[in-house]
Symmetry: D3
Subunit: 118 residues, 6 copies
């Protein structure tokens, strides 16, 4: 895994801990539903659900969310071709305003591929 993913993951984990230290039930439950939604055992395979999370994140234009789902898509067996085709639908539905996020997504993918997984 690449450097961008490492920096992103560290900040993500540190802040998730800070957020969940706080005693707020709504936030805690939103985080737990988030884990549940992409887990195995539903009607759709995990890979499809991660591609759905990726495209939702792309059209809503959240770079961190896109990065997270790109890593998860890879882990669940999605190929670069499948990921690019999913993102092409996000680009079409969301318009050219999505292009800068697509650039950063491909840069992140290249970074993920640049180093062997730990």
């Amino acid at each position: 895994m690449g450097n961008k993913f490492d920096a992103f993951t560290k900040f993500r984990q540190r802040m998730n801990e800070r957020i969940l230290e706080h005693d707020n039930k709504v936030i805690k439950r939103m985080f737990s539903v988030d884990s549940l939604a992409y887990a195995e055992g539903g009607a759709l395979p995990v890979k499809t659900k991660e591609l759905l999370g990726l495209v939702a994140s792309l059209v809503l234009r959240c770079d961190d969310c896109v990065s997270y789902h790109l890593a998860k898509c890879g882990e669940s067996g999605a190929s670069r071709d499948e990921i690019m085709e999913a993102m092409s639908i996000g680009l079409l539905v969301g318009g050219t305003i999505v292009i800068p996020h697509l650039r950063r997504a491909v840069d992140f993918l290249d970074d993920l591929d640049a180093q062997p997984a730990g």
Copy 2:
């Protein structure tokens, strides 16, 4: 197919014709890319691409787009369970602001199922 789908389809077809009568290349090409994106022959099956279009439409909260992709998901073999699971990811990512669109989506699905296909 149900009554809501009929009314929606008639307006959609009539206005698509009106739009494409106008000699604007950008609009014409956007419409032709739209057809291309969900066609067979890519890295992902048509059903997956329609589910991606559905979730993108749901988080961007466009009822007409949701209706269109619900019909296409059905045509490409997606089950009610698969459609509902895809929409659950849209609800999670997009938040409770998505709920009114989810209500109209399920109402549209019920209407689609209420009558035999022509």
Copy 3:
């Protein structure tokens, strides 16, 4: 309560039942967190939380969500002046694109006030 509220409430209840009949844990939990978030017992009074839900709905421009929180704001004791001031912040932050939703919100409020509560 007025006629608009009645029609809105009937559709809302009927479709919530249809949605929750479906066995999807993510959707069910999103609905239950939604009830939890605006309940008594947190750091903020219910009225303030309903005003927060109202403004979030207004800037995201969802008429049904605005209607729902307008009714709840009234039930939790918010005055017309407080509701209008909360919506003025939504208009400022969200811009003039919010104006048509503000028109429908005031029309809904007038309808709510037009008939004695049942």
Copy 4:
């Protein structure tokens, strides 16, 4: 002017009056800045500013705002070709999620053209 424009204008005027009856300075000032922004006398011609308002409304996907600026574009001398080209940029930047709004925009334009101005 057509029937759709009449119904839209009546509701718009009635609710603007209701909104401005309420003594809220932020709302009143937002309405007055709105009039100022599209007035003559700035660096850009009124027609260009109305086209800018139209495209902003289209990518943010507000049908009422699109209808309003379509009427104003016509009044300020924009041709159907200019309006369609402006909307083609909105479609490109905003993506296919804009298509249902483009359909309703062209339907509204056809309605505007269907009857002689009063």
Copy 5:
């Protein structure tokens, strides 16, 4: 006040001055309405209005706006519990796409608390 707040405030003040040097009445009036909206003297307390600005900013996912209102919420007497509860409503309404902004918001709050106010 912390380092992040200092850097943010300096850029903010410098660019506000540059923007207001330009002779554009619409921009100047938008800035003055912005000051008016959160001032004392309306139907709602300043603290409530700042919480409304915070949640509007969070669901529209603007980090700078969130940072600004976090600082203002603190100044107007909102506790960490109240701020977190307000943000929990933003997370619920806006969905998990809000999570990266919530992480940066809590990081900003921690930074604000790390140093005594000047």
Copy 6:
């Protein structure tokens, strides 16, 4: 042209190449329609179309897209006054949530003007 524009342009060009290396027809066509839309020969002058692209980008709050169109507006002959007036409409329609993007836009414009074009 300034330093910010250089860094932005390099990343933009490098990633556009990476994206277009990938054999995805939908993405390639979206990029080619993007070039077509702002080209000479339509009903509107290039300068007007760049201002439309700028305002669409501003209300959708994409800094990279705003930067790109700011540079193109300058190249097509738009004055600082015309650009600021176009952006004032974006601020009005999009609301104060646009302000941080307006700050970065003016900072980018100042950087563009700070150095002679190469």
